[in-house]
């Protein structure tokens, strides 16, 4: 199969090492060209995210050439010694590399198990490599099968079930209260980073009308400009509260910012229309008593983190089932490649037998003392020679087929190549 992977990830390297090896999407084609220049004829795919940088190869002996590849991936940084690199990088070959590929694409190796973003990132990496002409008959079908396996893992197990980040949970709650986010007004109180992320997630789902309230009006205006919302003076919060369908609060105020009485007035003005309030501030901004008001749904950071933890637990429970699917995918890939390898070696076997037989016949039948031999007798000799060769090769052919079924084909192919000199012939051709 001659497939390999060499890389670093959050499992093996701290961020200061990972950022040395990180490659921006725009730089990937030139990086691949550099590697191809050192390893002509190889196939390459480079996956680089904030959590991992991995180079998938075909046609390179990653174990033998790992130090050269380490240096290329670290862009020749002399700061790291060879033994240091050894501890940060992992190297896997053949089925080990394929298994790693499947687990990464299926998000089993992700920092948050089941976070399906990685599948999109791997697809993007394969797309870039395809465009740069770096993939071929080995990596292309391999990645297609990896995507198929990932799709099965995502659809047949609970590994992606339940959101696990604060921003995605805010969206999930919003979608359980409201049908169409594009007609809803989102109010952001305090321009914190998490609130901004939650707002972005809501906007991705269609929310358009955004009100931003911040103690520093200038900062609120900046965020409003950035996200296409409206900045409102902070002291007008209660006046605007009734207009907001979704409120996300994240100020650093040491006291309550939104009181239950204000929420009660807002919900009366809304005539019972539901209101979702997400409080991600510590200490809390929204009066906990507001949760008792009918048609108001209040969630604090603790609620969100508790749900996230439960969802992570559920995902972990699905991991075993996901690995079964990955192993099935691995077995299919192995079978596919081994059957391809078997066909190839049997073809070489037949070709070799034919060549040996024909050259021996030519030499024998050209001898003077056989010149008078009638054509039927010559044909009988040819037939006899072919039968002897076929008989001699029959047992080794069967042994190869058995080895393929037992998963030992790679070893047998190596021996056969050595014994019959197939590699030497290929290189001469």
């Amino acid at each position: 199969m001659n497939v390999g992977v060499i890389g670093i990830s959050y499992h093996t390297a701290p961020v200061e090492v990972r950022e040395q090896a990180s490659v921006r999407p725009g730089e990937v084609p030139s990086m691949l060209q550099r590697i191809r220049a050192q390893f002509p004829g190889s196939e390459l795919v480079l996956v680089s995210t904030c959590n991992r940088t991995e180079l998938y190869t075909a046609g390179i002996d990653v174990n033998a050439d790992k130090h050269r590849l380490f240096q290329i991936l670290l862009k020749g940084d002399e700061h790291f010694r060879a033994d240091e690199l050894e501890k940060h990088f992992y190297v896997k070959s053949d089925l080990g590399a394929v298994e790693h590929m499947l687990s990464v694409a299926s998000s089993l190796d992700a920092m948050v198990v089941g976070e399906s973003e990685i599948l999109g990132q791997v697809k993007q990496a394969v797309g870039i490599a395809d465009e740069a002409g770096m993939t071929g008959k080995v990596l292309q079908p391999l990645f297609q099968r990896a995507f198929k396996t990932a799709k099965r893992v995502h659809s047949e197990t609970d590994i992606c079930r339940g959101r696990v980040s604060v921003s995605s949970l805010a969206v999930e709650f919003a979608e359980k209260v409201f049908d169409d986010l594009s007609t809803k007004t989102v109010m952001i109180v305090g321009a914190g980073e998490t609130a901004e992320l939650a707002l972005k997630s809501l906007m991705d789902r269609g929310a358009k009308d955004v009100l931003v309230l911040n103690r520093s009006h200038g900062r609120g205006q900046d965020l409003a400009d950035k996200l296409g919302g409206r900045a409102i003076q902070f002291d007008l919060l209660e006046d605007y509260l009734a207009r907001a369908d979704i409120v996300i609060s994240s100020t650093s105020a040491p006291h309550l910012v939104i009181h239950a009485a204000a929420v009660q007035r807002a919900i009366e003005a809304r005539r019972g229309k539901p209101m979702l309030m997400v409080d991600i501030a510590v200490p809390r901004d929204i009066d906990p008593a507001a949760a008792q008001i009918k048609n108001v749904y209040v969630y604090s950071i603790d609620d969100l983190q508790l749900i996230a933890a439960e969802n992570i637990t559920k995902r972990r429970e699905a991991v075993e089932q996901a690995w079964i699917i990955v192993r099935q995918g691995l077995a299919e890939i192995s079978e596919h490649f081994e059957s391809g390898g078997l066909r190839e070696v049997l073809r070489k076997f037949d070709e070799h037998g034919r060549e040996v037989c024909e050259s021996a016949l030519q030499r024998t039948l050209a001898k003077e003392r056989l010149a008078g031999l009638p054509e039927p007798s010559r044909e009988e000799i040819r037939e006899l020679a072919r039968k002897i060769v076929a008989k001699m090769l029959a047992e080794p052919r069967e042994a190869l087929k058995r080895a393929s079924k037992n998963g030992e084909l790679d070893n047998y192919v190596r021996i056969v190549n050595d014994l019959f000199g197939f590699d030497r012939k290929d290189s001469k051709k």
Binding site: F173, E175, V177, F178, G272, P274, N295, D303, I307
Partner: protein
């Protein structure tokens, strides 16, 4: 008759299987089973509608006056309302409660299959048929709205009490359910108004008097009509939403069931020709 009974059992069987599928889907055991459940329910509904048509032809009278006919017509009206709503705007999760409810109605009716009952001969006709059809259509449409209200209250309770299980995940958003309630209660109110007006026309045709106004079934239906009018007012004029309005719709379902069946248990009625086999009005 026996053949019709076997076909009816088959139709009810379709509903039973559809119920199991829909509930399994709601509880997350068969997430993609809901559409199959709806298809099976429609198949069962077509079979049962055929049985009712044949029974009407067999009795040479409008079906709808014994327990089997009444329950089947109610279940079919509910299934039809849901089928039409699903074509207009499919809302996931409702089938898990609606189909078992319709199945329960059918199971309540099946034992009265062989009972013969009909309206007085002088009432048989197109006007009576229209009265029955609009009444059942109103019941079906309003029940769908009430089931949405029940689901609204379940989802409200899940969100308030932070129970985020499979059922929470499978049920639709509060806003979708609120939308179904507001749209369908208006339609049910219109249909029930038409049915009541036709009912009065029939009473006039019979030469009936005040005894009809005091008839328990008429009074119970009038209460339901007033409740629907209040609901329509709360939405159309006051633009009320949320839990309160859902509670009104659920209370309305209680009134509907009383007007439809319960009234036969408590007092003799001029509608006694409807033989529900439940009490004072029945055999």
């Amino acid at each position: 008759m026996d053949r019709e009974f076997i076909v009816s059992i088959f139709g009810v069987g379709c509903y039973v299987v559809a119920s199991l599928l829909a509930m399994a889907s709601l509880l997350g055991y068969r997430p993609k089973g809901e559409r199959a459940a709806i298809t099976l329910m429609i198949f069962g509904a077509v079979i049962l509608a055929g049985v009712l048509v044949l029974r009407g032809a067999g009795f040479t009278a409008i079906p709808g006056f014994n327990r089997f006919d009444a329950m089947t017509l109610y279940a079919l009206a509910l299934s039809g309302a849901y089928g039409i709503w699903s074509v207009y705007r499919y809302t996931r999760g409702i089938a898990g409660i609606l189909i078992p409810y319709a199945t329960l109605l059918l199971l309540c009716g099946i034992s009265a299959f062989k009972q013969e009952a009909g309206a007085p001969a002088q009432l048989q006709g197109a006007v009576m048929m229209l009265h029955v059809a609009t009444a059942y259509a109103a019941f079906g449409v309003f029940t769908l709205a009430s089931i949405s209200a029940v689901i609204y209250l379940m989802q409200d309770s899940n969100l308030k009490n932070k129970r985020f299980g499979v059922v929470w995940e499978r049920l639709p958003s509060l806003e979708s359910l609120d939308h179904i309630m507001s749209r369908l209660v208006g339609v049910a109110f219109l249909l029930l108004t038409v049915s009541i007006v036709i009912g009065f026309m029939l009473v006039c045709e019979l030469g009936g008097g005040d005894e009809w106004v005091r008839d328990p079934k008429v009074v119970a239906t009038a209460i339901l009509w007033i409740l629907l009018a209040v609901f329509v007012h709360l939405r159309a004029s006051s633009d009320r939403h949320g839990r309160g309005i859902a509670l009104v719709a659920v209370f309305g379902l209680g009134c509907l069931l009383f007007a439809f069946m319960g009234v036969h248990l408590v007092a003799p009625s001029l509608h006694a020709f409807i033989q529900m086999g439940l009490g004072a009005g029945g055999p």
